[in-house]
Amino acid sequence: MRRITLIVTAVVVVLFIISWIIKTNTVPEDGTFRPFIQGFLVTFAAFLTLAIMSFLYRDNPFYKFAEHLYVGVSAAYAMSLGFWTTLVGNLFPRISQNLSDWFGVPFLHYEWHFVIPPILGIILLMRLSPKGGWISRWALAFIVGTTAGLNLPRFLRSDFIEQISSTFLPLLVQWQGVGPFFSNFSLAASGQFIAILTNITIFLGVLCGLIYFFFSKEHKGVFGTASRFGIWVLMVTFGASFGYTVMGRISLLVGRLTFLLKDWLGIIS
């Protein structure tokens, strides 16, 4: 191992221990854990946060450690959670009184059709057998086919027909006089002019967006112009969505920095 790596590692370990000692003496005693444990948890969380953030500089052993720890713990946690919520919480109370009593969950009532999912699950696990692996394709086919079939009417209604009917907007709103026609131009404008402008924008935007996604015809002439307008509408929308989402991401960063500066270092109150 290179000398610089050893030095850096030693420095990190020393700082970790110092932080641990300081946090042990500063955390309130009325917490869930004893101060010794609480101090370790806060220090370790800060260490992992900084280890992940060190990726911005370059790949390094601390990032590797944090990454592998995160991947491993999350996979194991998900497996454990899946066992306790799905099998113990959902399956056993419906197929076996004895199993429910063993795991300490209240037995509900027998539902014979709950036997089918574990059978499919066992068939799926046959994948691990070199000779019997072929049978797992049946369970896979059932999963993919059933969910695709169930999703078809659902998405057809929510993402297709409802969206179509929401576009049925009058392009010319009923005349209500000059005053209401031009009533204010703020973002909260509610006058007739804004209503007409909104409806026309939605109508043209949807129409031209659909034309952009037309694959059977080359985008030339009037068709091409409509397609270009459509992609412009899409890109403006994406830009707005980008800015809005970045705001959300910054707030996540603020949360993490608050943890480091407040809970760990105690610099801010």
């Binding site: 998900a78 057809l156 297709f160 049925f168 009058p170 659909l210 694959f215 015809k217």
Partner: protein, 404 residues
Amino acid sequence: MTAKTILFILVAVLLAPLVMAQEEAVPDSTVGVIPPAPPLNFRAFDTPYDNGHSISLEWELSADDGQGRNNVLGYRVMRAESPDGPFVERGIVTSGGTSYNDSGVKESDSPDYFPRDHDFYYKIVATTADGSEAESEVFGPVRAVGQWFNARKWPVLIAVGLFTAFTLAFITLARRGKDLYVRPLAGIEAVDEAIGRATEMGKPILYVMGLGTAADIATIASFTILSRVAKKVAEYQTSLIVPCYDPIVMTVAQETVKASYYDAGRPDAYDDKDVFFLTNQQFAYVGGVNGIMIRQKPATNFYLGKFYAESLILAETGATTGSIQISGTDEVTQIPFFVVACDYTLIGEELYAASAYLGREPVLLGTLKAQDWGKACVIISIILGVLFAIFGWQDGVDAFRPGN
């Protein structure tokens, strides 16, 4: 009259007021309280197009609800199993309300159980703040019955029928050899170039299918593209890395890649370890994929599927390693991140169409054409609907709205 008699009468007269005073005078609460007018034209009927565990009730407002004495607070919905009762309260509707759905669940051991095919009798009781009430006539018997079809969803049925017809027609045409034109897409044309680049550089190709399950349309589209990519990879003898978020997706991806290697005549080159499960926690997954990108430095990154907040992290990390990146997702909020950070981006339906472009199989091309015809029908529907809205024909507008 004797002295005893006179004394008795005197005592009775003197004591009588005392005896009578011990009885408290009970105020007559009904004095001065006028009950409200009862609700009118009450009727109960089986809720249409449901699973048979609901009865709908409708009535007209009491004459004292919002008018007249204007003292109706609300209406109590009462139900019994015989016209003479006993009636049990099933719900309360505030003043101004003229309908109620008495419903429940189908499990007989649940406290909310609502039996099917069972006669019930209902009445509506208008109530006021001072406790006076007025009842409607008892209506019944009425029973809840399940229906096989929800006729309100006929627009969905028509859409499915139309699309199915288009699909079958164009698949038939494609199988007969008819040349079906599809316009070129830059992102899809770059796939071959990207795979060739990785082969020349001797570096692996990273294929990320996102955070979707096998039920997500984007993931299913990604499977079909993966099969094309894997076949090319097998032919060019490049290595492929497919880290998976979902165990079922991993299983399907393994089968897909294996079949592609077999199709390319290179079954020996397939390695199960190329397609592996990483974790199903979002940011742990992206941390692991970032590690793969930084350490194994793939020449080409494919991000095709369902992505969420991790999309920018993936794309930016791939950009720092100098990989060519082709992305595609139907998540509207993530497309902007891919557009800014990747070389080519397939937006929404272009991802679904990509498999037809790459394979040119009749089934997929026919489906793509059917989608376009479906879009044409949508455009026509929108134009018609807008015309209906302009000229105020509300029935035409409502015809496109599927009921619940």
